[in-house]
């Protein structure tokens, strides 16, 4: 769904403007500039805030893998994000795992959860798929509320960050920041590689025309399940990191509100663009941080942004830029 093709306006500007002669270099320069910005950001901005932002950006990018490139809207991604946070926190605190192994535990747990939820939810399509993911994630929420190892309303607290590979002490905030940044970049690279692989191409063909893909002999359900598990695992990677950054795992991360938040981040940034979810997450996290000090409820703003995005700019911020004259001259492809 939710793709430029389903937008009647998207086909309006088919006259491609002349490409900028330096388009490829400018694109590389933009990426490098963003990287530099990420490297020096902790000098000017509170690192914990930046790490939170990176965790949510990876979460949204993982979610977008499913919505943007496969056309499946999951309303239950909090289960993978928050579930992995619990698994990671438990592995690090109770089992004494090193951080990389603890996160791996979370990722494997999230992937397993994704396999089960995906298998059930993919029995139906479209709008039903969305409602089923929501219901199953809510079921997981109740499981977390009652299960012993999650400690109910208290959550798992004072989770040790530990030593990376048993060597590098992550209790230093800056060390932790660069670790999170590295994991984030690896996650984004994996998504980029995945989307541009033959597997990713088949996913896009399923998004564009499922019946055609079936008639070409692809077993679409298996491909969708693959994308679902992949997305769940990467969401788990983000959740596991968040548990180590904040050193706790709580029920907040498995609620349906969290599932809704990641949809919003992706929608606001631009569905089906690699950078859109990153920017969307950045904006929403900043907004929440800003409103946290006032007693004005965030949900009103979030809801309004949702409505405005759906009504007025469904391509999202990055998607609108890609589709703009400048974006197309620079060779950004809104279709990818």
């Amino acid at each position: 769904m939710a793709h430029a093709h389903s937008n009647p306006e998207a086909t309006a500007g088919t006259d491609a403007p002349a490409p900028h002669p330096q388009a490829a270099r400018i694109r590389i320069a933009i990426v490098l500039a963003l990287l530099m910005l990420a490297l020096i950001a902790p000098l000017g901005v509170y690192p914990i805030f930046l790490m939170k932002l990176l965790c949510f950006a990876l979460f949204a990018a993982a979610f977008n893998l499913l919505l943007g490139y496969t056309g499946l809207l999951s309303f239950g991604h909090a289960a993978f994000f928050g579930g992995s946070a619990y698994f990671t926190a438990h592995a690090a605190k109770v089992w004494g795992f090193t951080p990389e192994l603890a996160i791996l535990t979370g990722v494997i747990g999230a992937a397993g959860l994704g396999l089960v939820i995906g298998l059930i939810a993919l029995r139906r399509q479209g709008i039903y798929f969305t409602m089923i993911t929501l219901a199953l994630a809510q079921m997981f929420y109740f499981f977390c509320l009652q299960a012993g190892f999650t400690h109910g309303e208290d959550g798992i607290q004072s989770v040790p960050r530990g030593h990376l590979f048993g060597l590098i002490d992550l209790s230093h905030t800056l060390t932790m920041y660069y670790f999170v940044l590295a994991v984030f970049l690896i996650g984004i690279l994996v998504i980029w590689r995945f989307v541009n692989s033959p597997f990713g191409m088949i996913l896009k063909s399923i998004r564009e025309n499922e019946n055609r893909a079936i008639s070409l002999g692809y077993s679409v359900t298996r491909y969708k399940l693959g994308a679902f598990v992949m997305s769940a695992a990467l969401a788990g990677l983000a959740g596991g990191m968040k548990a180590l950054v904040f050193q706790f795992a709580t029920l907040t991360d498995v609620t349906w509100q969290m599932s809704g938040e990641v949809v919003l981040m992706t929608l606001l940034g631009g569905i089906g663009t690699l950078l859109g979810p990153v920017f969307g997450a950045g904006l929403i996290v900043t907004l929440q941080n800003y409103l946290a000090t006032s007693n004005f409820p965030v949900t009103i703003i979030t809801g309004l942004v949702f409505m405005v995005c759906v009504l007025l700019f469904r391509r999202g911020l990055v998607g609108e830029f890609y589709a703009s004259r400048l974006g197309r001259r620079l060779g950004f492809n809104p279709e990818n």
Binding site: L73, M131, A135, G260, L311, R314
Partner: protein, 295 residues
């Protein structure tokens, strides 16, 4: 004392009644969702918020206008239906030509705004709304004591469910509605005002949710969060029943409510999730849902 499956009959019947009450709300809400989805192809995520608005309308009408329960039972659905019609006319109607998921996302945003606003002004805690004096007290049925108001809820919801079913399946307006579901452009060509039909349908669905909200107000407390707690369960009900059939939505609502009530007797820990478990089992065995035709 009479025992049934090793459980005292009183406790068994009590939970069965609670299940039936919950089932009444599930039936009314999933009916509204099915009616809206049938014609608009929109999953109305704001349905829970509209249920909550119904309850709040009754509460506020009583507080500031001294309006009685019985008047509120009629007035609240009209008010909520009108606001829903405005939302449909000004915003939701722009999304029909797009992918159905945009309708879901839009109504999700709407639900967040409504709930956030009420939470801002009224706080998150529940407020009591008294049952009408005519229905206070309880009747002794011999095998159990039935609070009168709860009996009324079951009867009223059943009556409204059947009336809605009859409206859609047995009247001329309903025939237009069903025809427009099948082929809107053809129906329009016959001179039927389809956009008006869409607005009316959304208002009707929201009105049903508001009616359920007023019915619920004296049983549960009136709180801004009452809608979001119930809507996800109702989604599961809708998945189990399949949205193709009005009767299917009603029957599934009652069945799952009762199943939830009975789970509270035999295995209370699972009562929160039993409906989701049933949904998963139904999806594995019969993906189209109990009453659904299409996948």
């Amino acid at each position: 004392m009479t025992m049934i499956f090793g459980i005292p009959l009183q406790a068994f019947m009590g939970q069965l009644l609670i299940g039936l009450i919950n089932g009444s709300f599930y039936a009314l809400l999933s009916l509204g969702l099915a009616v809206i989805f049938g014609l608009l192809r929109v999953i109305n995520f704001a349905h829970g918020a509209q249920y909550m608005l119904g309850a709040f309308a009754a509460l506020l009408l009583a507080m500031y206008g001294g309006v009685s329960y019985w008047v509120a039972l009629l007035l609240a659905p009209v008010i909520v239906g009108l606001t829903a019609a405005v939302v449909e006319k000004t915003m939701l109607s722009r999304l029909y030509k797009l992918d159905h998921l945009y309708g879901l996302l839009f109504t999700f945003g709407l639900a967040l705004v409504i709930e956030g606003t009420f939470r801002y002004f009224f706080g998150a805690s529940g407020k009591p709304y008294p049952a009408p004096s005519a229905l206070s007290g309880a009747s002794n049925l011999g095998f159990m004591v039935l609070p009168n108001y709860r009996g009324w809820v079951v009867v009223a919801s059943l009556a409204v469910c059947i009336a809605t079913w009859a409206l859609i399946e047995r009247t001329k307006l309903g025939a237009y509605l069903r025809a427009a579901t099948e082929n809107p452009s053809l129906v329009q060509a016959f001179g039927i005002n389809v956009p008006l039909l869409l607005t009316l349908t959304y208002a009707l669905g929201a009105g049903l949710a508001a009616f359920a909200g007023v019915l619920a107000a004296p049983i549960y407390q009136v709180s801004p969060l009452m809608g979001s707690n119930i809507i996800i369960v109702v989604f599961a009900v809708v998945v189990v029943g399949g949205m193709g059939s009005i009767m299917g939505a009603i029957v599934t609502g009652y069945l799952l409510g009762i199943a939830e009530g009975l789970t509270k007797v035999f295995y209370p820990e699972a009562s929160n999730i039993v409906i989701f478990v049933i949904m998963a089992i139904v999806l594995i065995l019969r993906p189209a849902g109990l009453f659904g035709k299409d996948v």
